[in-house]
């Protein structure tokens, strides 16, 4: 079985400061990894995904994440935060076999201060 831990429930940053949202996973098999963003009263939108290949993955809105297998981590980063980045961010994992389901973390709320 897989599990995801998002270590911070809230991360406050100042506008234009760098952002890092942490995600660790647990799995006995190979995994696919995802980051989704949720704005208030909306569904989830895919930011980026790691399936295979390069461990540094670039996504939309200037976000990127690095898959570190030895550390079982997939932290999300952005060089400079914008006010519009304020939202809830979810890390998700799935087994890289015939599994169809995503296992989500509990989410990290990014607070951006002017």
């Amino acid at each position: 079985a897989q599990s995801v831990t998002q270590l911070d429930s809230q991360v406050p940053v100042f506008e234009e400061a760098p952002v890092e949202l942490r995600c660790n996973y647990s799995s006995s098999v190979s995994v696919y990894l995802f980051w989704y963003v949720q704005y208030p009263n909306q569904g989830l939108q895919l930011l980026l995904k790691y399936l295979s290949g390069s461990t540094l993955v670039k996504g939309i809105n200037g976000f990127e994440a690095e898959f570190k297998k030895s550390e079982t981590s997939f932290h999300l980063t952005k060089p400079s935060a914008h006010m519009s980045d304020a939202a809830e961010y979810f890390c998700a994992v799935s087994a890289a076999d015939s599994s169809y389901k995503l296992i989500f973390g509990s989410g990290t709320r990014l607070l951006v201060r002017p």
């Binding site: 569904g43 989830l44 998700a92 087994a95």
Partner: protein, 114 residues
Amino acid sequence: DAGVTQSPTHLIKTRGQQVTLRCSPKSGHDTVSWYQQALGQGPQFIFQYYEEEERQRGNFPDRFSGHQFPNYSSELNVNALLLGDSALYLCASSLVPGSNSPLHFGNGTRLTVT
């Protein structure tokens, strides 16, 4: 290009009642997944439908059932509602089954059980 649409957006039911939620997938998608998102939590996988069959199921009781129609739209039914069923129910569609196929989420149905 219409994305994933869900109806209704909000619903209030009484304990013991039954509810049906509806989902139309993104154009060109034939696979539908349902997730339950309790307040302050990440989404939890309920089940996935492909070719009108339930392909995989999460850890939810039999009170939760679903259906997929020939036009790929889907319904989620919950019987004998409990207070704990209050949540945001998210529908997601994808091009094909399999966890490497990115999910496109609707805005959800907010269910309140009183």
